[in-house]
């Protein structure tokens, strides 16, 4: 009964989404409040049914009901409970169900908390959400139904892909989906604005926090996925420019640009057309990501199953929504009222520059990801576009962006003073130069670019710090007053500083890891010692262990440095019998932000075991950076004040510096 009730709930959710997508539109057209309010109750009911459906599937997975095809194919009765639950979204059907559940969740949140929105705007937004939801419910029910049954159920399931039986999977997909799907809200707002033909202050006031929520989750989701690849795939790589990774990076780049222009729009009533376009692009790229990952066009860990029918269906959805919204944009964008004016050198101008760089960077990733696919379709040639392409295109775009980043927050709204901003960044510039000089002297004859890149990163971090120092008047006024002012500073300002510093910190990690990474690859027998970056790793022995649904070969290494024993590391290799596949569980030893990474390979005939040992200096900064960025976003989100950008008056008053 649980399976069938969950199935029926999904069908009802589809029916409600169809009503939600039509009735409120008619209501808004004819000015009928009751019809417009249907959007609200149906959105909430749709959330209820989508939630019921997802709960049903989770219960089926927990009770190992193998009469459901989805459970049979992706679960095993002996899996630990945690992985039974995460297995719900560890497969195609279940993950699509999570996708629509999150979509329904966002729709429900707009319905529940959208009291201060103009009624017709809310009706339009929820109707657009209804279209997206209906398309995806239909996709799930027709091509990837998680509730299909087997009449004579088998006694045991086929188990989840072992690589996915990991705590990282418990967190990574929901985070990423909250990000992807969260951008559907700004998309719906943009399409609603285009349909209504006007875009006002209430619009901007709503879009910024929703974009911020989606951006925070997407940032964390990408970082999580990258860390998962780092420790689970056993190669110690954290970013491969793999099409699936690019599929999540593209919405992030567009979403970052959207976030910045949404702020300008809220504060200054400017960059309206940018904001609308970026809203459409960001969600379109999220949909494209879903298409790339789910259609089986790409084969990877994420392509659970390949079925042409699914690919064609998602392609249709993609064409309908991206094509439709861009057409609407081309048709209606000119009718939108133009917003405030600003001088080229101003905070607004800096943010336009930021948007240009981010969208161009996004375009290079787009080309690098889709060109090989297009070429294969047209000519049948297989080429792979890898790190060299992205390093040569993405890198040069990000360098000027990062160099310009500290200047942005220093400029005043409407008309800024570049020289003044430069003066205030002198300290940051000097700090960066000192770091470059020291690094050059220290690693003389080594990598040329690495010290420069680290100098840039230091400039970004120091720039964020000097922005804060400038605002609280540090060193200019007594310390106690400065602390008091720092406490009074809006949390949004702190958020900006943290997020910008996060980028610099991640960059330091990336440069250090790629430049000064040392590795040892070889086969070891018990009592052999490997020396990596000043550490001695002695292989004590290899033991076997039985896990709940796997057998495990554990190697034990004693790590010492300068004769002092530090810790015991136990990398292992797990064999999963049901799927007949194995995973490597790398062992990590964290020292500060650096890590020692040991993973095991095959055992050869003489009983020696292949071992890969890496020393990765400051590698953790790569993930601390995004966490810091997400924390900054959270700070900004918690700031409930209205955002008002006070312009610099035309006849500058000498007395006070603009602080906000």
């Amino acid at each position: 009964m649980i399976a069938e009730a969950g199935h029926y709930a999904l069908v009802l959710a589809l029916a409600l989404a169809l009503i939600q997508s039509t009735v409120p539109m008619l209501g808004a057209r004819w000015g009928d409040q009751a019809l417009m309010n249907v959007a609200r109750s149906t959105a909430l009911a749709q959330l209820l049914f989508a939630g019921a459906s997802f709960t049903a599937l989770t219960m089926l997975h927990v009770t190992s009901d193998f009469s459901v095809v989805n459970v049979f194919e992706n679960s095993h009765s002996m899996k630990p409970l945690l992985y039974k639950i995460t297995g719900v979204w560890g497969n195609h059907e279940g993950s699509m169900l999570l996708w629509v559940l999150i979509l329904a969740l966002f729709g429900g949140l707009v319905a529940a908390f959208g009291n201060n929105l103009p009624l017709s705007l809310r009706a339009h937004v929820l109707a657009v959400q209804g279209w997206i939801a209906a398309a995806f419910y239909l996709f799930i029910l027709v091509t990837s139904n998680p509730f299909l049954r087997i009449a004579s159920p088998p006694i045991e399931g086929r188990d989840l892909n072992p690589v996915l039986q990991d705590i990282g999977l418990a967190v990574h997909p929901p985070m990423l989906y909250l990000g992807y799907v969260g951008f559907s809200i700004s998309f719906s707002f943009a399409v609603a604005a285009l349909i209504e033909g006007r875009i006002d202050a209430a619009w901007a006031r709503w879009v910024r926090p929703w974009t911020l929520v989606a951006w925070i989750f997407l940032t964390l989701g990408i970082a999580m996925g990258s860390y998962w690849a780092y420790y689970e795939l056993g190669w110690g790589g954290w970013w491969f420019w793999d099409p699936v990774e690019n599929a999540s990076l593209m919405p992030w780049l567009a979403g970052t640009a959207l976030l910045h222009s949404a702020v300008v729009m809220e504060k200054r009533n400017a960059l309206k057309v940018w904001t609308i376009l970026l809203s459409i692009l960001t969600f379109s790229l999220s949909l494209l990501g879903t298409f790339l990952v789910r259609s089986g066009v790409l084969t990877s860990v994420h392509a659970f199953a390949t079925d042409p029918a699914r690919g064609v269906f998602i392609l249709l959805i993609l064409c309908l929504f991206i094509g439709g919204s861009l057409l609407l944009y081309a048709w209606r964008a000119s009718t939108l009222k133009q917003g405030g004016l600003f001088a080229p050198i101003s905070r607004e101008g800096a943010l336009v520059l930021n948007n240009l760089f981010l969208t161009t960077a996004c375009a290079t990733v787009f080309i690098g990801t889709l060109y090989p696919l297009a070429l294969e379709v047209v000519t049948g040639d297989k080429i792979s576009v890898g790190a060299p392409f992205f390093n040569l295109t993405f890198g040069p775009l990000f360098v000027p962006l990062l160099a310009a980043m500290p200047f942005g927050p220093m400029l005043a709204w409407k008309r800024g003073d570049l020289l003044g901003a430069a003066q205030r960044l002198t300290a940051a510039g000097i700090a960066a130069l000192i770091v470059i000089a020291v690094l050059w002297a220290w690693t003389f004859g080594g990598a040329t670019f690495a010290p420069l890149a680290i100098g840039l990163a230091v400039f970004v971090v120091a720039g964020a710090v000097s922005d804060l120092a400038e605002r609280v008047g540090l060193f200019r006024i007594p310390l106690t007053i400065a602390v008091a002012r720092a406490r009074g500073l809006p949390r949004a300002t702190w958020g900006t500083a943290f997020a910008h510093a996060g980028i610099g910190i991640a960059l330091i990690g990336i440069v250090c890891e790629t430049t000064w990474n040392t590795e040892y690859i070889g086969s070891m027998k018990p009592d052999h010692v490997a020396k990596v970056a000043g550490y001695q790793l002695k292989l004590d022995g290899v033991t076997q262990r039985q896990g709940p649904n796997f057998r495990e070969m554990i190697a034990q290494f004693t790590v010492s440095r300068d004769g002092e024993t530090l810790e015991v590391m136990t990398p292992s290799k797990r064999d999963f019998t049901t799927r007949g596949s194995s995973t490597t569980e790398a062992a990590l030893l964290t020292r500060g932000a650096s890590q020692l990474y040991v993973s095991l390979g095959e055992t050869n005939a003489e009983g020696a075991i292949a071992v890969r040992i890496y020393h990765k200096p400051l590698v953790l900064l790569i993930w601390w950076g995004p966490v810091l960025m997400a924390f900054g976003g959270l700070l900004s989100l918690s700031d409930r004040r209205l955002r008002v950008g006070a312009p610099k008056p035309a006849k500058a008053a000498r007395a006070l510096q603009p602080a906000e």
């Binding site: 009964m1 399976a3 069938e4 009730a5 199935h7 029926y8 069908v11 009802l12 589809l14 029916a15 409600l16 009503i19 008619l26 004819w30 000015g31 009928d32 409040q33 009751a34 019809l35 309010n37 249907v38 609200r40 109750s41 149906t42 009911a45 049914f49 009770t63 190992s64 002996m78 959208g114 009291n115 201060n116 103009p118 009624l119 029910l141 139904n145 509730f147 049954r149 009449a151 088998p154 006694i155 006002d200 202050a201 209430a202 006031r205 009533n269 009074g488 500073l489 039985q546 007949g580 004040r641 209205l642 008002v644 006070a646 610099k648 008053a653 007395a655 603009p658 602080a659 906000e660």
Partner: protein, 367 residues
């Protein structure tokens, strides 16, 4: 019955969600307006100035800007009178009351299986009995061995069942474990070899042959191992060797051995001129064959091999055997076209392609 009751309840909830707002006539202007946002922003500026976040002159400039926008917003606010179009409301209510349940139930019935109940694993294992299908029992034994992988007896019991079920790869693993944990024996080795050959679609691979040789090393008279070693020789094209092995086997075999007919038929297949005198009907039939019939029989075998390779082209040894057969029969063109097909079939696998090219060198096919 409860299922339909639950469905009805859910449908009613869905209908209610649509009808509820339609029934309420909210006359009060719900929702915010643009002017409200600007008024809030003006208040925010006052707070910012009070907190010392922005200077007085900036605050003044901001106030001017916002007030200008506020005026514009107030001008353009052509407050739509709250109309109520009864016709549309009625139509929506009918859609919700009639269309929604009909559409939902029709769509569900075309996809769902309302006749199936739940099968949570807990209640199913409890009711397990001797009548349950063999798959379930195998699954239980497998589950047991998953936890106690060193139970050699368990593996010994499981392996032949797996082989009979056609799960050859699993059977190979099970036999290997049986050998590891229950001790090495000629029987286990030859069973393992048989499973390996079955997994390779009947071809006695080098790996399988090695197992049979180990079995023979432990028990020189093992009929299964010897039979398969003969088969391996036959598949390699060494018919005389095959015949010799099988003849030796028959010579030592007791007269009532159940596998005698099999060996005799095999001997007839390789066209052994010195087939033993004591022959059953099949043997007699083979003996009576004339040269043409025998040729047809061989051709049949070659064709079967060719068909199998068309379906599954991974088997490099099979391809080599096929080409060798064509060469022996003097059909050079066919051998050459088989080589082309083989190259296409393994083109994606460099290791296999290398093996193929090595093998072709010895064939004298040239090219």
């Amino acid at each position: 019955m409860t299922l339909w009751f639950v469905f009805a309840l859910m449908t009613v909830a869905a209908i209610f969600a649509v009808l509820w707002p339609l029934s309420r006539n909210s006359s009060a202007q719900a929702g915010g307006s643009e002017a409200a946002v600007y008024k809030d922003q003006l208040a925010e500026i006052d707070r910012d100035v009070a907190a010392g976040l922005i200077g007085v002159s900036e605050a003044e400039a901001a106030r001017v800007e916002i007030s200008r926008r506020l005026l514009a917003a107030a001008d353009s606010q052509h407050n739509l009178p709250a109309r109520s179009s009864l016709g549309l409301r009625r139509a929506s209510a009918i859609v919700a009351l009639v269309g929604l349940p009909i559409a939902a139930v029709t769509f569900y019935l075309s996809l769902g299986s309302p006749q199936l109940g739940d099968f949570p694993l807990v209640s199913r294992t409890r009711t397990a009995d001797a009548n349950q299908p063999i798959d379930n029992m195998v699954a239980q034994v497998e589950a047991h061995l998953e936890k106690n992988p060193t139970d050699g007896r368990g593996w010994t019991v499981l392996a032949p069942v797996l082989a009979r079920l056609g799960r050859y790869d699993d059977a190979v693993r099970a036999y290997r474990n049986a050998i590891n944990y229950a001790g090495d024996s000629a029987d286990h080795r030859s069973d393992l070899g048989e499973a390996l050959a079955a997994a390779a679609g009947g071809v006695v691979t080098a790996e399988a042959k090695a197992e049979f040789e180990r079995a023979v090393a432990q028990n020189a008279d093992g009929p299964k191992a010897n039979y398969f070693l003969g088969l391996a020789a036959e598949q390699d094209g060494r018919r005389a060797d095959a015949a010799a092995i099988w003849r030796g086997l028959l010579a030592k075999a007791p007269a009532d051995a159940p596998w005698r007919p099999l060996i005799e038929a095999a001997l007839a297949r390789v066209g052994d001129p010195a087939a033993p005198a004591l022959s059953n009907d099949a043997m007699a039939a083979a003996k009576d064959m004339n040269e043409a019939d025998r040729g047809a029989m061989i051709r049949g075998m070659v064709d079967r091999l060719a068909t199998r390779l068309k379906q599954n082209g991974d088997d490099v040894e099979g391809w080599l055997r096929l080409m060798r057969a064509y060469m022996v029969m003097g059909e050079r063109d066919k051998a050459a076209s088989a080589l082309t097909e083989a190259r296409q079939a393994v083109a994606n696998d460099t290791e296999r392609l290398r093996q193929l090219n090595e093998g072709v060198k010895n064939l004298g096919l040239g090219g």
